[in-house]
């Protein structure tokens, strides 16, 4: 596998990259949601 063939993945680029991007986006998204939830909690409980 060379850097040249990476983007197209032998013609299957949409499927392979689509899957990986989706997976990474979902996991990163989950972490971001949790961080936001923690921030909201901190704001709420600091003022209590």
């Amino acid at each position: 596998m060379s850097w040249l063939t990476m983007p197209t993945m032998g013609g299957y680029g949409f499927y392979v990259w689509g899957s990986y991007v989706l997976t990474i986006a979902a996991m990163v998204g989950e972490v971001l949601f949790l961080l936001r939830r923690r921030e909201a909690l901190r704001d709420r409980q600091e003022h209590a």
């Binding site: 013609g11 299957y12 499927y15 997976t23 979902a26 972490v31 909690l41 901190r42 409980q45 209590a48």
Partner: protein
Amino acid sequence: MTSQTIHWYRYASPGNLYQLAGQLIPWFAVPASALFVVGLYLGLFVAPTDFQQGDAYRVLFVHVPAAWMGMVLYVVLAFYAAVGWVFNARGSSMMASSLAITGAMFTFLALVTGALWGRPTWGTWWIWDARTTSTLILLFLYLGFISLQSAIDDPRRADRAGAVLALVGVVNVPIIYFSVQWWNTLHQGATIRIAGETSMAGSMLVPLLIMIAACWLYSVAVVLARLRCLIRERESLMTRSVVIE
């Protein structure tokens, strides 16, 4: 009482659980990130192109871990929910609630990446075979659990109701799987099998195992983080003194 017994029950208190979770998270998050990087590199770069499926097979390095985690997390969820119900342990029930969203997410990813894998290899986005249909039903079970808990205002009722539902669900999963397999063979379902059925070359197996391990570690870290948020939301009086931040 042995020291082991005392050690265990100490973490039934949400305050102690909160601290324990906080200490554990880095131990899972950091290795998870490292393994992800290694796994992605090996899976995308190093693993050789498959003879039959070309490079499309690389989807399996995210599809299989997602499907695996979806199934495992449901069983773990049912376990924690049951323990929380039987022993009246709030912390255990909160673990179950924390697991649900991550499990549902992985199951959803399994379905979508499965479709993205199926299109170039089987020629169709969706196939009604035993495994995909059972995964879809698993997603419904997760969504049912989440919906039920969010519909109930009283946290303890939500915990226990969720436990009943999760236990009924986990007991039914083998029955559902068997019935779907039965249905599939009756209607002459596709005999196409994904690459996972054949023995895999080491160069493909290693990235797969690394990705599975990475997803597992990630799950633990994320679920513990959600557990901490949940404890703070529910037990605000108790954790106020414990929260140092």
